[in-house]
């Protein structure tokens, strides 16, 4: 790990000022940042510790029916908040399917949003990586790439965004509140992360000094609670990143889908909202045919970036499974293995 200057400001404005200097990184829990620094993938010259900033660790119900989640709220605290898990079950399930209990106890909301890809070539400083070192090339293109992106990738970068949390969040229209040099602004989570294009090193729309202070869920997000699921295919039962994941949330009235929300994880450099598929489901019955058509629409633009053609089929099947489980109804309690496709709680459908 490179040495760095450590500062611990007392106010948000002091933090933003301190972080404006190039080479600065914010430190919350550090569960991803310290890992990157130990591997010399990240080499910040200054860490601005935001863990003591006041007012960032609260969950507040807003007057308009929305919810505001402070950036320092720990993943485990949010997922285990009974009111939160009841109103936003797919988000709680996604949170509990990520990392380990120890990491969830430490990791924060804002840190989860800004975690870096787990592409092995990004992590291996001996490999060429346009994201880590712009212009150096991409060893993933001809390397071990079966877990890489099938949507939104470019010749410069085929990495995926690893978050589970972000997938149902983007489906439910979450908004990010950002404090920057010019004051407070808001960005839809869907627009926070950037696709790689020719500049994969620019992973999001944040400017120097920008600090995510809160995440907001609009009032409408609660309406999906009776029919909301998150499913995640992993290469081991627990404590693994997604090969492919999906969030599905439905509003069902009189046997018809009034409104659908769909998003995919593990397929692109950002949590992938499937809007065209959502529109196709509106007004349809919650049938296997409708779900299969929606899944085809969601992956219509997908193309393999390497040995990962299977992920396109897998993503469609996991979307059908997630929609089927969401239509069957949110379980009273999050399953013992959160988001597991092998969970036996409500789905006999093991081969979609």
């Amino acid at each position: 790990m490179n040495n760095f200057e450590y500062v611990r400001p007392a106010t948000i404005s002091d933090a933003v000022t301190a972080a404006t200097r190039p080479g600065t990184a914010y430190l919350a829990s550090g569960t991803n940042l310290l890992d990157l620094m130990k591997g010399a993938i990240a080499r910040p010259s200054r860490l601005v510790d935001i863990t003591r900033l006041p007012g960032l660790d609260r969950v507040e119900r807003l007057a308009d029916g929305g919810l505001r989640i402070g950036t320092l709220v720990r993943n485990a605290d949010l997922a285990h908040d009974p009111d939160f898990a009841t109103c936003y079950p797919a988000i709680a399930e996604a949170l509990l399917s990520g990392a380990s209990a120890q990491l969830r106890n430490a990791a924060t909301v804002g840190g989860n949003l800004l975690q870096r890809t787990r592409c092995g070539y990004f992590y291996d400083v001996a490999s060429a990586c346009n994201k880590r070192k712009p212009g150096s090339g991409c060893d993933a293109r001809d390397g071990e790439n079966r877990l890489h992106a099938v949507l939104g990738w470019s010749e410069a970068c085929i990495a995926t965004h690893p978050s589970d949390f972000c997938v149902p969040l983007v489906a439910l229209d979450a908004v990010v509140e950002i404090e920057g040099r010019n004051g407070r602004r808001e960005v839809a989570l869907e627009n926070l992360h950037r696709l790689p294009g020719d500049t994969p090193e620019r992973e999001n729309v944040l400017e120097p000094g920008d600090l995510i202070v809160a995440l907001r869920l609009p009032a409408e997000a609660r309406a999906f609670a009776p029919h909301a699921r998150y499913l995640k295919v992993r290469e081991r039962t627990s404590y693994a990143f997604a090969v492919v994941s999906a969030a599905a949330a439905l509003r069902i009235e009189q046997g018809k889908i009034k409104e659908a929300r769909l998003a995919l994880g593990g397929v692109a450099a950002k949590p992938w909202r499937a809007r065209a598929a959502e529109e196709g489901l509106a007004g349809a019955g919650p049938t296997a045919d409708a779900f299969r058509r929606a899944a085809q629409v969601a992956l219509a633009d997908a193309k393999p970036s390497g040995d990962n053609l299977f992920k396109i089929e897998l993503a469609q099947r996991i979307l059908v499974r997630t929609l089927t489980l969401a239509a069957a109804g949110t379980p009273d309690r999050i399953p013992a293995l959160p988001a597991s496709p092998f969970s036996s709680v409500s789905g006999a459908l093991h081969v979609a």
Partner: protein
């Protein structure tokens, strides 16, 4: 630049002068406070051998900067027994052969203590296995570990009930 931090470790106040901000909580415990019960396995947050309780919550001490934990209350494996009387989780690990080589055991035990306090698993072995998945055991003592956590959870619940009766 030096940083003065104060921690409560196993109930004892410890004031530490840090000459380097890179020191992790794990290295502080092992190298500066000579509490070597907490183990360094992967040092990257993947194996759980370094698990301790910080302010009552289980975390990976290898992924925590000591300087950021000024004022924290830390419980390590050295602080869980009462003299010669083992903590119920320690006793259950012995009773159920929840270990072989023992390297991961301090982390397993601290994680199990945290798990029981979190009170999310009930007596469902599948929930316990899932909640212990952040602690790897290369000897493969998982079956005994799950049994030990189940029994320790029950004995702690029973003694809590006896105290309140």
């Amino acid at each position: 630049m030096n940083f003065s931090i104060g921690l409560t470790v196993n109930g004892v106040r410890r004031d530490v002068e840090l000459d380097d901000p890179r020191v992790t909580l794990l290295d502080l415990l092992r190298e500066r406070l000579d509490l070597t019960g907490t183990k360094k396995g992967c040092d990257r947050g993947q194996c759980g051998a370094c698990t301790v309780l910080v302010d009552g919550r289980r975390v990976n001490s290898c992924m925590a900067l000591a300087v950021s934990h000024d004022g924290a209350n830390v419980l390590t494996i050295e602080g869980v027994s009462r003299g010669d009387q083992l903590h119920p989780v320690q006793a259950a690990f012995i009773a159920h052969d929840g270990l072989q080589c023992g390297f991961c055991t301090p982390g397993q035990i601290m994680s199990a203590i945290g798990l029981i306090q979190e009170a999310q698993t009930g007596d469902d072995p599948e929930r316990i296995r899932e909640a212990m998945s952040g602690n790897l055991c290369r000897c493969g003592a998982y079956a005994g570990i799950t049994e030990a956590v189940l029994e320790a959870r029950q004995s702690l619940a029973d003694s809590k009930q006896r105290r309140s009766a």
